[in-house]
């Protein structure tokens, strides 16, 4: 019984990953996430901060973009 439940859950998880993640990634290519990412990066790059700090902030922009793509 336990084995069957585990199998069903694993299958459901795999199907969800196959169906939802690519759909979310495709949505990320929509202008919304791209534009937000651009705005974030443009703000960071025009800030005249030190280069290490700039890189950290650009990474934050990419994390935000990832969240937008996955609709977290």
């Amino acid at each position: 019984m336990k084995k069957t439940i585990a199998l069903v859950l694993a299958t459901a998880f795999a199907l969800a990953a196959l169906v939802f993640v690519p759909a979310s990634l495709a949505a990320g290519q929509a202008p919304g996430c791209e534009r937000e990412r651009y705005q974030c990066r443009a703000d960071v790059l025009s800030n005249d901060e030190g280069w290490v700090r700039t890189m950290l902030m650009l990474s934050v922009c990419d994390i935000a973009w990832g969240r937008c793509v996955l609709k977290v």
């Binding site: 990320g28 791209e34 005249d48 030190g50 290490v52 700039t54 990474s59």
Partner: protein, 336 residues
């Protein structure tokens, strides 16, 4: 008499040594005294001298122009630093900007890289809309060539997870927005953040084309003609001291960022690099000295400014800057 002869001989010897020294390493050193003094604008405490976020500073025969990306306007000053008027405002209509990041002055017109709106706008010097065109990317830098080709560059657009790919960073357009040519491959790395950092660049005009120069990790300035062909590369003088740091990158790796300049301008035949410097925390930040290069990449000299500056525009002996407090200031050098 003997003492007088000895002093004369010694004097001549020193003079000769001085001449030889000046003629060897710094043949153009007479253009650079290193002495700089600030000229006060007519109203030194005017709020107009302070920018919210300065994106670029430039000049023509009569005026100084400063672009503010937050206020989305170009402020126009007299050559003595008096604020005259502003061009543009935030918006999406004609003559309005959204996060503009560069501009170019040409033949009575202002070409604006209207980055947030993804377009180029052409205005007259009073801000009246003359034309423009949409772009497929967010522009980074802009200039206009002698033949009126509008040159627009952008930064790599790779998103995390995309495969390593090169893309052309510079495009030439007609003034109505038709793409004519593309030039200069990006330095690709697979890490979008590092890729962005090492592809930041400036475009600077020269007779018959323009310079494409990256801010770091690339010792070559590229001379591109008005057909988009790289006609020459110029190696930066080995005497120039790069500012290098190891930066964290993906998968725990460390990579090197070697800084060439913070901002750059041309005046006459010379290239002026605002040299970055190390902050106490080890980061690379804006500097306070200008390295001057000859057209062949040879180091011609150095100008030390009394303050840290973010943006420069060199107008012969006059240097217009935006300092670390985002205030516009004017310095005079003894460059002939």
């Amino acid at each position: 008499m003997k003492n007088q002869s000895s002093v004369l001989f010694l004097g001549l010897l020193l003079l000769q040594v001085g001449i030889i020294k000046a003629g060897s390493g710094f043949s153009q050193s007479h253009i650079l005294s290193g002495r700089v003094r600030e000229t006060m604008p007519e109203n030194p405490n005017s709020n107009s001298l302070y920018f919210a976020r300065p994106a670029a500073i430039g000049h023509d025969h009569d005026h100084i122009y400063g672009l503010d990306s937050i206020d989305s306007e170009i402020r126009v000053f007299s050559k003595s630093g008096a604020f005259l008027y502003a061009v543009g405002k935030k918006g999406q209509g004609p003559g309005e900007f959204d996060g503009p990041n560069d501009f170019w002055l040409d033949d009575g017109k202002i070409y604006v890289s209207d980055a947030g709106n993804g377009r180029v706008q052409i205005l007259d010097r009073k801000g009246r809309y003359l034309g423009g065109f949409k772009l497929k990317c967010f522009p980074h830098k802009i200039l206009v060539l002698d033949d009126k080709t509008v040159v627009v560059s952008h930064l790599p657009s790779a998103t995390p997870g995309e495969f390593l790919r090169k893309e052309k960073l510079v495009q030439g357009y007609t003034s109505s927005g038709d793409l004519v040519w593309e030039a200069v491959d990006s330095l690709s790395d697979g890490d979008p953040v590092f890729e962005t950092m090492q592809n930041r660049h400036v475009l600077k005009a020269f007779s018959g084309g323009f310079y494409f120069i990256r801010k770091c990790n690339d010792p070559l300035a590229r001379l591109v003609d008005n057909q988009g062909k790289i006609v020459r590369t110029i190696a930066v003088d080995k005497k120039f001291e790069w500012k290098t740091i190891a930066v964290p990158a993906r998968r725990g790796k460390k990579r090197r960022l070697s800084g060439l300049f913070w901002d750059c301008d041309t005046s006459g035949d010379f290239l002026y690099f605002l040299v970055p410097e190390f902050a106490p925390n080890g980061d690379i930040v804006a500097g306070r000295s200008l390295a001057v290069f000859k057209p062949d990449g040879g180091l011609a000299g150095r100008i030390d400014l009394p303050v840290q500056v973010n943006k420069i525009s060199v107008d012969g002996p006059r240097i217009y800057v935006v300092d670390a407090d985002y205030k516009m200031r004017i310095f005079l050098t003894e460059i002939k």
